[in-house]
Symmetry: C2
Subunit: 410 residues, 2 copies
């Protein structure tokens, strides 16, 4: 019998009415003859309510107790969904993370799953029951409640699908799939039938927030086919797997991602000596600031400009650090800019196809858009632009690579 | 080191502000050098909110899932109280019923405690931590979450106190102790310094709803001294134990209880034959209606009147049953009255002292109050009156037995 893990996020279970709608969806799957394990998040708003209570009780809430508190959110949902299923005549049984025994390490609020006991779930499935599991939570070997951190319910779903060797892990959400780019920026954006894990990781990390990066990594690692689809409307969504689209359908470019959360920092006129990159980035790393793109230009006078990007929230701290080390380095000055955006072309097709970068730069030049930084990988080309060009850049690239057409060809 | 179990009900933990106040109270106990285990209920209103959600999801909510749902209420409170304690510099750790391992039977929504594992609690106490335990909940041998039913948090507190051999179990509530009678009816009602388990059972079952009967029975069975006191104001409350007040302080009567929830049923002109009581009460019992007082008067003509009381909610059903069996019994008619009240004098002192009943009837007669039924036990005398006399009866008895004076003597 085919086994599917369904995951429904907070919006999909935000009211009892919506939970009943989820129950209908699960029952349809049962009627198709599928075994179903359902993973649910807390009802939307509930986690925020609990976090607010915690901060009222303790300035910096203890993380062990935070997990005890937050895990109640999903526990409420599993009970209500099981009731809604039973109301409609579908046998169902709920399990908290501790009850399944989703064993994690002790890293409260960001625990990692170490093992999953599938025995009780398999017994229930064999009895014809739907199994409803609380997402986002687990338990340590000592019996302490843990949570998995942001997007943890997706991770729970993928981990259960891997442990149960499910056919697919269906992530029901408020969008109906992964798009070539954000439809709010390019109305011609098209839903992708399929995308590879690698591409999805690039799309997600670049700002297409459909799925949490960690769950995509997890799915890739355990080769669990993921499908993103809408809880609110019919459709086959987007399948994320190792298989590329094949034949004439095979696109060079799958999509365009962008990220508005970064800021650019430059240290100008650094004497070009070995070890200079370390001297600059060492203090940044020590301050626990994550660096994304790094570009170094060799100047003509033996000095160089060194540029990198960080999250916008870290911009001020990073700039202060650079200003402090300027003199030591013999650099001219440190400067920066928060009014930037990163735009990336993503596609496994570009691996075997030269000229994509040139075509990208040509499209941007054609619109008079100045490129501030460039960074490339096997399946991605990213450029940093002035943020005022975001929409124009995305739309022109979408058109240049014919992403609005199903069987895109460059 | 002295060990106390504290229990705080829903009103006492109704807001984070109140939870902080509970934390202060616990910290004061720590500063007196006491070890403390705290049992808490769900924040007031929370259980009702969850029950409403359940009924939205399922007409008659599945009881296993109901327990999964309701147990989240206390889980929220234990996390918040632990945080509030830590915020004030007091080490604390929370446990759900399942985490302590409060083992119960499988009777969901009204489970009974079978065993309590004290190991983790003792280890925490030894480390100088306050242990915060979720009331009202436990876990079956299979790992299913159970709840203990009405007043379950009191039961948890008493059971923990018994298992840990605590010195006292302190029940913090919104009243500051057990009173000679309801102060809303008799403003001269006086707080009792102490009362025995037996008396408390009579007071509770008669309508003084300070403590749940089950937890008092439990405390009596395991000889756990209970103390009822206010979360909101200072005071030593009322100690409930096996010891009677002694010496000149020893009162004949501890208090006056009353119950407005009963209704009276009478079957008139029943031929007085053996087995008649069974023929009347058999069908009532079969209908699962609980009977409280029973009185049978032998008439002069070989027929008898048979009267008993039931909960008012059962009155209509009980009357229908009686009307149906009237003919079979050869009885004249079945009648009833819901406008009654039961008033009881309670006191272990009356065991060894005759004349209390006479004194009671004299006081009532003095006010022209007609007595409809009388029932007595070793430590209690109950009368049924027209409900319009409730206040008058309570006040005149309170005065007749000098209950407003600390060292009451008849």
């Amino acid at each position: 019998m085919a086994l599917y893990v369904h995951k429904y996020g907070g919006t999909s279970v935000g009211t009892v009415e919506r939970i009943k709608h989820v129950a209908d969806n699960v029952i349809q799957a049962r009627q198709r003859g599928e075994d179903v394990v359902v993973v649910v998040s807390a009802m939307s708003g509930e986690t925020n309510r609990l976090v607010a209570l915690a901060h009222e009780a303790q300035e910096r809430p203890n993380i062990r107790e935070m997990d005890v508190l937050l895990s109640t959110g999903e526990q409420v949902t599993i009970a209500l969904l099981s009731m809604a299923l039973q109301q409609k005549g579908c046998e169902a049984r709920s399990y908290t993370g501790a009850q399944v025994r989703i064993l994690t390490d002790r890293a409260h609020t960001k625990a990692r799953i170490e093992d999953i006991d599938t025995e009780r779930m398999r017994a229930d499935l064999a009895q014809g029951r739907v199994v409803v599991v609380a997402g986002f939570q687990g338990v340590t070997a000592d019996g302490d409640i843990t949570t998995l951190g942001r997007g943890g319910s997706d991770t729970t779903a993928v981990a259960l699908a891997a442990a149960l060797k499910a056919d697919e892990c269906l992530i029901y959400t408020d969008v109906d799939g992964v798009y070539t780019t954000d439809p709010r920026i390019e109305p011609k954006a098209r839903r992708l039938e399929r995308i590879t894990f690698e591409e999805m990781l690039e799309m997600a990390s670049q700002g297409s927030k459909v799925l949490q990066i960690r769950s995509v990594e997890f799915a890739g690692k355990y080769n669990v086919p993921l499908r993103v689809l809408s809880s609110f409307k019919e459709g086959s969504g987007t399948l994320i797997s190792y298989e590329e689209a094949s034949g004439v359908e095979k696109p060079l470019i799958s999509g365009i991602a962008f990220n508005r959360d970064e800021a650019k920092l430059t240290i100008l006129g650094v004497p070009d000596r070995p070890g200079i990159a370390y001297k600059i980035l060492g203090p940044i790393a020590q301050a626990n600031i994550e660096v994304d793109m790094i570009v170094q230009n060799v100047g003509e006078d033996g000095s160089t400009d060194f540029t990198f990007t960080v999250h916008r929230n870290e911009y001020k701290r990073a700039l202060e650090i650079l200003q402090n080390i300027c003199a030591d380095l013999g650099a001219r000055e440190a400067a920066g800019d928060t009014a930037i955006v990163k735009v990336s072309l993503v596609g496994v097709g570009m691996r075997s196809h030269a000229g994509i970068a040139a075509q990208m730069f040509e499209a941007l030049a054609g619109e008079g858009i100045n490129i501030q930084m460039i960074s490339t990988s096997e399946i991605k080309i990213s450029v940093v632009l002035n943020e005022k060009y975001l929409e124009l850049a995305v739309r022109s690239l979408h058109e240049a690579f014919h992403l609005d057409q199903a069987a895109a060809a460059a």
